[in-house]
Subunit: 356 residues, 2 copies
Amino acid sequence: MTLSNPLETSPQLKTMLAAVESACRESLNHKILLSEPAIFQMLSYHMGWDPALPGKKGKRIRPLLVCLVAQACGTDWQRTLPAAASVELLHNFTLIHDDIQDQSDERHGLPALWKIHGIAQAINAGDAMYSLALDHLWRLRSAFSVEIIAQCSEQLTLTCLHLTAGQYQDMEFETRPVIRDVAIAGTSGQKFPVTADEYIRMVEGKTTAMLRACCNIGTILAGATEEMQATFDAFGYHLGIAFQVMDDYLGVWGDSAQTGKSNATDLINHKRSIPVIWGLERSSAFQQRWVNGDIQASDIYLLRDMLTDAGVASDVLMLAKDHTLKAFACLQKAITLGAHTSYLPDLTEWLLNRNK
Amino acid sequence: MTLSNPLETSPQLKTMLAAVESACRESLNHKILLSEPAIFQMLSYHMGWDPALPGKKGKRIRPLLVCLVAQACGTDWQRTLPAAASVELLHNFTLIHDDIQDQSDERHGLPALWKIHGIAQAINAGDAMYSLALDHLWRLRSAFSVEIIAQCSEQLTLTCLHLTAGQYQDMEFETRPVIRDVAIAGTSGQKFPVTADEYIRMVEGKTTAMLRACCNIGTILAGATEEMQATFDAFGYHLGIAFQVMDDYLGVWGDSAQTGKSNATDLINHKRSIPVIWGLERSSAFQQRWVNGDIQASDIYLLRDMLTDAGVASDVLMLAKDHTLKAFACLQKAITLGAHTSYLPDLTEWLLNRNK
């Protein structure tokens, strides 16, 4: 089943997306950046706005989530645009640093920022993006009380702390042994293979924290009740887990023509995604091949089949489905609490069923 | 003349310094960090608190400045400790990233964080330190209004944006030609040798922005008048320029036994400090030797003498003195406005005359 992308089919969502994009662009017009055009250009390039080198842009899911949740809770979404731009900048700060950390050469079809300007300047550009994101939040001052903005600001800094915890774990996983019952010595004691529980904990930091923050900022700006806030927070949580698990699924079984990245990448990069974690636990053939190392693109179909044969594909989909259903249940609950969820179910469905 | 360090001789300043250190330590006890002990340990190590590897600590000048300025403006300095800790964490976030960017192997006599944990984890640890710094500021909530804390928060994020601009320039200087009247092609047009004006602009971002922020946060927390705020802001500005110029002076003419770092480092690392900028402008012998490259420790005395002969040493000291006098004039003005500057003049004098 191929779902249509509501961002392309719904005029209202297209309008919102255009407003979000425009708010993000506006956020770069900061006097300090304008006085240092080189940093402005680096950030602009990363966002896909370099007129000479326009890249594919990100999906802008996170700022849309801020606007849609605020709208669902009865607030004019246009008032929330500075916060929407903030979360998108924050997300992109993490991408700039991620690419250095993962040594990823490309982002949205163009060379990653560090490949052009070097690691030192790219670290600095990421730091600038982070600072800009937090500074930009205060543009809400004309429409919201300082107490409300302060709550949003705390959400963002706390989210970044969660992100660094998740990022730490993701990188630390690469140093772990792959063979069950075989521990290796680490700097703080013995190390064991990554478990599914540890994976979920890592995703809670790396992916869900940000989506929860978007939901929380949306409800905070709408002045929603505590129960409504908790409901959307839970929605963000399950959406985040389902989104990451689907991403990992597509990283192995996705159609590269549709995902836009080679479906071999996750296996070739030895990423400890949930399919790999379960494959190492359940398939000795997969484990053996993994331990041997040097996985080439030509090995992918074999590895994929090993995972499928061990029942990993269906279990990964089931995990994603479990959290998807929970996310929808949260939206249902929000409706009973008085929310008008409008495009949130469509967007959720598309996000979690894309490219199947 | 060797001035005694008031941080070692004044009981009151020692008490304040101990309270600052304790507040900084307390700031690491964040539930997210406690649940990820590896990041906690990295930050703790960087701060010089690893019980197994205690390093020399930083001077903690910035948090002291927050406390002293707030005290000067009539507020109990102990109420400002969370803000003091925030600025010290923020400063240390920049140091963690600086060391990666400059490829500095050591910090306070121990291996730099990235030398132990690698670039990827050190970038992440820096990001965690930044997030923690901003989050920690909200601990002021029990003693200050949200509006006051919001103003401090804006100061910090704006300061970081200034810092990234200064850091960009500092790194970009290394790509500039050294020979007068000879331009080289850069990514955005021709590049010319670094001028003293450009140097000052870089220092405004890299050093003064943070010291101004400390002063501003001190006056904001004290609820000082706008005139008082502007006076301490100007004090922070001149202190910052004088401090950096003196640092550059000591980087060439300092006594390594007293500065704790080799006085050759700045010349060997080809750092475009103000002595070097003026040396390249004024001394063709210095320029020639600089262009030849591969400066060894044994060349330092010759290079230093070339700079001294070209009048650079005295001009650098004069520049520092000019800003020092202006900083003292600001303190005098603050006194006429009703401030009780207590240890600020002593601390300023020591900072700007250390190791002469």
